[in-house]
Symmetry: C2
């Protein structure tokens, strides 16, 4: 069983974008407010959006199931108010639930949260609970910067975030730390903001004591952990200079990196410096990089190939492709069993 922990619904039907555009236009002109009922996406549209994309690539690349969430870049928590984000989150999460309903063997749901700049993360707990308990989701995406590149929230180790962590722990689901698009022109979304957020979150965990307070909280840092594995010596050394405990104890009992690193040397480094138990297979397909690498003739984001080609033992590959995911997402096995 090959489990891809990182997929977004980047190919959702265009009607979803049309609704969002109206929702945004209505922020200035309430007369344009779209009714939620006006958004009618048929099952065939959903099937069509997936059959030629994620499902085709699952078949071609040999993965079985994708842990699937709303498109990260369009979460855009910085747009509008908390009410805007709540409506947009519910629509997107409900759509993911329909995807999972249509293809329960291929997709398992993860939700986006109705975050909004300056709004207490506690307010996201209700939507998280709805998605897990009513829609059968197994995790959430948590945006450490709802301002979209202005970084106005407190660090993830601040008590500001604790009510949400309490709910994650209570429901026994992990969160992937994943920013959305950037409205700061300095930061290209997938080329800078995403990777910076990954790096930033990890350093916050070194500085703080989050996992003393939440020993069972599990957080996934996507995109191969940002810059962290490449600078693993820097992070070990900084923790040491700061008199923090070794990273294996202090952070790595609770933090996981995915394999969204789009070339063999990068994956080889990841597998060399990060313990196998902290690595989850992920590709983010169809996502940030869609082309074919001319140096290999293969898709950049076909990360399964890099792991297949690595020097890891078959047993370690199985941990990355499958069994680690059962530990990080305890609700996953039941979902797969229910799908048959």
């Amino acid at each position: 069983m090959i489990i891809d922990c990182h997929g977004h619904y980047t190919t959702a039907p265009a009607d979803l974008t049309t609704f969002r555009e109206a929702q945004i236009a209505a922020l200035k002109d309430p007369a344009q407010t779209p009714s939620r009922a006006s958004l009618r996406i048929g099952d065939d549209q959903i099937r069509d959006s997936l059959e030629k994309a994620q499902l085709k690539l699952q078949r071609e690349r040999g993965s079985d199931v994708t842990i699937f969430s709303p498109r990260a870049s369009t979460m855009a928590h910085h747009i509008g108010t908390e009410a805007t984000s709540l409506e947009w989150s519910q629509i997107n999460n409900d759509l993911i639930a329909r995807v999972v309903g249509l293809y329960p063997k291929n997709f398992v749901g993860v939700c986006m949260l109705p975050q909004s700049p300056g709004v207490a993360p506690a307010n996201s707990a209700r939507e998280l609970e709805r998605c897990v308990e009513e829609l059968g989701f197994i995790g959430a995406n948590l945006n450490p910067d709802p301002s979209g590149g202005h970084w106005t929230s407190p660090p993830l180790t601040d008590r500001h975030w604790y009510p949400l962590y309490e709910k994650l722990v209570e429901l026994d689901v992990p969160a992937m730390v994943h920013v959305s698009s950037s409205c700061n022109p300095n930061f290209h979304a997938t080329g800078a903001h995403y990777i910076n957020a990954d790096t930033t979150a990890f350093m916050q965990f070194i500085q703080g004591d989050l996992f003393k307070d939440f020993p069972t909280l599990r957080l996934i840092i996507p995109h191969g952990g940002g810059a962290v594995p490449y600078h693993w010596g820097r992070y070990r050394g900084l923790a040491q200079d700061m008199k923090r405990p070794p990273l294996a104890e202090h952070v790595m009992k609770n933090v996981y990196f995915d394999t969204c690193v789009y070339h063999q040397p990068g994956i080889d480094l990841l597998l060399k410096v990060i313990a196998v138990e902290n690595i989850l297979f992920g590709s983010e397909m169809v996502g940030a990089v869609r082309g074919i690498d001319p140096t290999t003739g293969q898709y950049y984001d076909d990360t399964k190939r890099y792991i297949d080609s690595s020097a890891l033992s078959a047993q370690d590959k199985t941990r990355i492709f499958e069994t680690n995911a059962y530990r990080v997402y305890p609700r996953l096995k039941a979902r797969l069993a229910a799908a048959g």
Copy 2:
């Protein structure tokens, strides 16, 4: 000849800090304004600050000369006004000139710039010129985020920065893209802000056309290029998806990475994916990470060891340790010749 392109005066005498504290206090209480004449640092103090630190480490590690600039974290362009930054820059740059005067074989100067949030980079051109023409410096550190973690300036590819690039080109000196401390609690300075800035700058260069406008401009991205080599496939793929030219043409004729990556697997990755001609030896000692790696028994930041231990040919090692630097810093050779 082993040339370390990345050293800061992190061990400057405590009197410098005392002056800065008074300068900052005076922002609220002008009665505390320190006179520049009150800052009297003797040659012996300077010698003492270096003999037990940078000079000792040069001898122990076998490097010959360090391209040396004011401490990056205390540039703190976000503090005070343009006048504050100008005074602080001149004091620091003059101090670097004294270091170079005392040890002309061991240090060559690079300046900090009197940047300030919202102030035109053109205003930094005069101090750059003074440092190069009067103090004999061979480059500058350019802060892409004078706001200290709020990222309020335009991207480095914006015309906002062009007057400074014009001066760099005219003087034929490179700039290292180097942020300072962060006043945004999300970003640890050396563990997040530095690395994020490196990654951010590189992605801006992919998006923009800066080197079409300045074909001879040379910029060094420190800390091994941030996250870029680890995600080299992502950057090649993003450039391709965005219909940008291949990175070798579009960015890598003008951009160089140093070797401030503090473990062997990171350096091995850097050397594997980035062309040798784009790599400059750097250690940032005495800097961000000061401890000994318990897994090797050696200093994390003794980056010369990692390059020595790499699979590169002797010729390629010489390019990284020495000859590439002559290309990037055309004024370096004359300085070394003058030092005898």
